[in-house]
Amino acid sequence: MSRPAYDAIVIGAGSVGLPTAYFLALEGWKVLVVDRERAVGQGQNKAAIGGVRATHSDPAKITLCLKSIEIFSTWKERYGDDIGWIEGGYCFPVYREIDQLKLKALLPIQKSFGLEIDWYGPDEIGRLIPGINPEGLLGGTFAPRDGQVSPLKASAALWKEARARGCQFRFGEQVTDLLHNGGRIEGVRTPGGSYHAPVVVNAAGAQALEVGRLVGLEIPVLPDSHEAGISAPMQRFFDPLVVDIRPGPEGRTTNFYFGQNDRGQVIFCYTPIDPITGMNRSETSEFMPVIARRLIELIPRLRNMMIRRVWRGLYPMTPDGIIILDEVRELRGLYLAVGMCGQGFMLGPGVGLNMARFIARGEPDIDRGIFDSVGFYRDFNARRSEALR
């Protein structure tokens, strides 16, 4: 066989694929990215609301997101492109005793992995979120180093830097075959042609399962969907991303979350109690009436904000709610960076850096034990789903 044209092929130019390609290029690798869409970030990336937090309960997510925050927060000074980073922190206001116990119990674990987080009293929470309903407010957690980024600007910036480092992109090409020989991956085939490389990374997001099935690999990633919306711009009046973890009084929602982005727009989303599975990304009439009540109940003054747009995006879920990063044992050279469970955007840079290190150097950037805890060959039913999704 002739020498492959590329060192690595990344399937997917989204939240995970873009940074993976970029960091592989930083390792000196010649990288090709293929995506079935016509541009970067056209899958779930652009549906993300842009919150970036290390406030998780799973060690891998905490450490990977700390890395993401480091990359996002220094991006502008490093490359000059404004990606909308705001270090506004993440705030979980609490109104129920049970939530107070749960969040306080997580603090020592979170801190032990390097997260800067603490419990704040109701007055402090009221200062962080002006106009928050004080009725029954017990306080909340606040992690001041968390923040938010514009997914649109970030993917454009990553695309630019990836190209500047020699990454090539093939858009509008869906991978129809994974090429392999003797238990080793050799490349991919698309309607545009065959591309050869000894390393292929499946970063196909919601399509991860489909891509795996091309070689008979059952990757347990099934998407469900969340709707989101955005307001017209307003003068900035709060900085943190806010997560209300109470179930909604309407009986349809678990938590909901929102923030005010760098343009002054409030961007918001909720988690439905009954997951809406499947690939459908069309908007429903149910979303706005439900979230409107939740937002206004928490911050009554939000009633006057003008709603501009709504959309729906997919959460590529794993059975235990934990991501998958690994090399496929049955097909050497095939790597998985999938199952981001709706957090692909905030995890992306951390995952990309670690996958690139793992692939190029054989060792991830984070602790090896933590990295291995998100392996593909784990028992997906052993762990209870993550405490803080």
């Binding site: 454009a156 307003m234 003068q235 009439s285 009436p289 009554p300 006057n304």
Partner: protein, 611 residues
């Protein structure tokens, strides 16, 4: 849409608004869902007629419109309609037709009408979201008729975003519906019917219309509409375009220039005019996004009127009727669609035919009409108006040109009836001693200055000077009190030439004014997010062919309007850069069509508590 009422304080917002710090928890209300067999979106000529047909069959229909009154663009149309009297109210003014149609709806019990509510989004669960003064509600229809009309195309040139630059339709809304005269001197870009009629309406409102530019060698609108402007003294500059608009904070001056065959400005032909208002009338695009969405969600969806195809309002009436019956049949009702409806609709939406050369007629008698109808358009009120049946259109199509033969009693009904003001009546031998004939010309401007005995400049059909006439009588036209008939004494030899009287003196403008920079990089393309042509061009040249990427990188289409205007303008830039628009991925279309306050979704303040 918020109706301006006395006592309201309206001011523009510098920077981003402050969210009012109201921290009391308001009571929530329910979001109503209205089930209906058919939802008709848009209460213009097409939508009303679709609803009338559905209503005639007793089909439960909800007709919604975003304005306070039904009629759509009819409510702006102060001019009499073309077409035929039998089919589509020809000869009647649009505003009157709106009243007639609305009255008919009132007598149709199965049609429920909701005004002041905008269809803001279509959803995957086959619901349509509506927002208006009554709050937010949902409609669950079995079928939908989208009759939302059209929106005006934008035109990008330096200064196109200055206050004072209007879409012609927006301007007509201010002028004819709201009775606001926001200008003293205006200029028009675009010689289609919209631009020509807007100019005429402006003159009727006492506004000085300084001129009109049309990029093509001939106006696209009806010749009779152009002739009305010519006769009043408005220069129509064909093969010209607007280069730029300038002013300190608002429009003060425009520069125009001639264009070559490739529509490129010709250097050295620049002229400037001092105006405070510029109307853009460069075409319309159907509003059909909701229809596309609903179809994707497998809702039975139909379009009619301008939402289906841009045409005259008379054609929209038939489009609505046919669509109403088509929907009924789709829903299982047995009803005929008369074949001649389709034929009539075809005729009414025909483009104008050939223009025949005009020759002044030989006088056929002592009293006779001069019919200056030289272009085939669908119109025949003159034929119906003549009590002697002396006016006929040869053949069986109303597209043909009317011909006079036989007796004329001088009743003036044809002068009153012609929507184009293209007929005069000549009475020869009025004053044989002085060699004067009498000509009766139609006149729709303020007649206050037209005293008996006043000497006026007369013009021929194209607005060229003929001579002088003397006003001898001014009266209201029979059957149309809004039109005046002016009797003029003119020399016998000029009688058949005189088509009207000049109201304005043409302005030449100031020659010079700087060569073309129409492609300037500073021109604003996306007004919501203030994105310039230069920024768009840089992205195109960097190889971006997905307009979703433009949304991400330079934010075109991310504002309140969602790309309603800039999408077309950006595609034009792609074309200029040599990229076929068919190779460009269109931006993803998401709700909402218009911004909605969060409170509406929580059912807050349905009555009383404004925003």
């Amino acid at each position: 849409m918020t109706v301006v009422r006395p006592g309201m304080k309206v001011r523009s917002c510098e920077g981003h608004p402050v969210l009012p710090p109201r921290d009391d928890l308001p009571p929530f209300g329910e979001i109503e869902t209205i089930e209906t067999e058919v939802l008709v979106i848009g209460g213009g000529p097409a939508g009303i007629n679709a609803a009338l047909e559905l209503g005639a069959l007793g089909i439960e229909t909800l007709l919604v419109d975003d304005k306070q009154e039904l009629g759509g663009k009819l409510t702006l149309q102060t001019h009499p309609f073309f077409g035929s009297r039998d089919d589509c109210y020809a000869g009647i003014r649009g505003i009157e037709i709106a009243r007639i149609l609305t009255g008919k709806l009132a007598g149709t019990p199965s049609v429920r009408v909701v005004t002041g509510a905008t269809a803001v989004g279509a959803f995957h669960d086959r619901m349509v979201g509506m927002y208006g003064e009554g709050g937010y509600f949902l409609v669950e229809p079995r079928a939908v008729v989208v009759a939302c009309g059209a929106r005006e195309k934008g035109l990008a040139f330096p200064g196109c975003d200055l206050p004072g630059v209007y879409g012609a339709g927006a301007f007509q809304t201010l002028l004819n519906r709201d009775l606001v005269v926001p200008t003293d001197r205006l200029f028009i870009v675009g010689g289609g019917n919209v631009g020509l009629i807007a100019g005429y309406h402006a003159i009727q409102a006492g506004i000085r219309v300084v001129g009109l530019v049309e990029a093509l060698p001939r106006c696209g609108g009806y010749k009779v509409h152009a002739d009305k402007l010519h006769r009043l003294g408005v220069p129509i500059h064909t093969s010209h375009t607007v280069l730029r608009a300038q002013g300190d904070g608002r429009l003060e001056r425009i520069t125009i220039a001639a264009v070559d065959e490739a529509l490129r400005p010709v250097e050295g032909t620049e002229r400037s005019f001092d105006v405070d208002t510029l109307l853009i009338a460069v075409g319309l695009t159907p509003i059909d996004e909701l229809a596309a969405k609903l179809s994707r969600f497998h809702v039975r969806t139909f379009t009619c009127g301008d939402s289906a195809e841009i045409a005259e309002a008379s054609a929209a009436i038939f489009s609505g009727r046919i669509t109403g019956r088509t929907v009924a049949r789709e829903l299982g009702y047995e009803v005929e669609i008369p074949p001649d409806w389709g034929r009539t609709q075809e005729i009414l939406r025909s483009r104008p035919g050939a223009v025949v050369e005009w020759r002044d007629p030989e006088p056929p008698g002592e009293v006779f009409p001069v019919i200056r109808c030289v272009e085939e358009i669908p119109c025949n009120p003159c034929v119906d108006s003549c009590p002697n049946r002396s006016i006929a259109i040869p053949g069986d199509s109303i597209m043909g040109l009317p011909v006079f033969s036989g007796e004329c009693s001088g009743c003036l009904k044809c002068v009153a009836a012609c929507p184009a003001l293209a007929i005069t009546i000549v009475r020869r031998g009025h004053d044989p001693q002085r060699g004067l004939s009498l000509v009766v010309v139609p006149y729709e401007l303020d007649p206050a200055g037209l005293r008996e005995g006043l000497a006026v400049a007369t013009v021929d059909m194209n607005g060229e000077a003929v001579g002088e006439g003397t006003v001898v009588r001014v009266r209201k036209a029979p059957g149309d009190p809004k039109r005046m008939l002016v009797s003029l004494e003119v020399p016998d030899a000029e009688a058949v030439k005189v088509a009207g009287l000049r109201a304005l003196e043409a302005e030449e403008g100031a020659w010079g004014g700087g060569a073309a920079d129409a492609l300037s990089d500073e021109t604003i393309i996306c007004r919501c997010e203030r994105v310039t042509a230069g920024e768009v061009r840089a992205e195109i040249r960097a190889g971006v062919t997905d307009m979703n990427t433009l949304k991400a990188t330079i934010r075109t289409g991310m504002g309140a309007c969602g790309g309603k205007t800039c999408t077309e303008l950006i595609l034009r830039l792609y074309r200029e850069e040599g990229i076929d628009p068919s190779a460009v991925t269109r931006p993803t279309d998401r709700p909402f069509v218009a911004e909605v306050p969060l409170s509406a979704f929580a059912g807050i303040g349905k009555k009383g508590e404004g925003r």
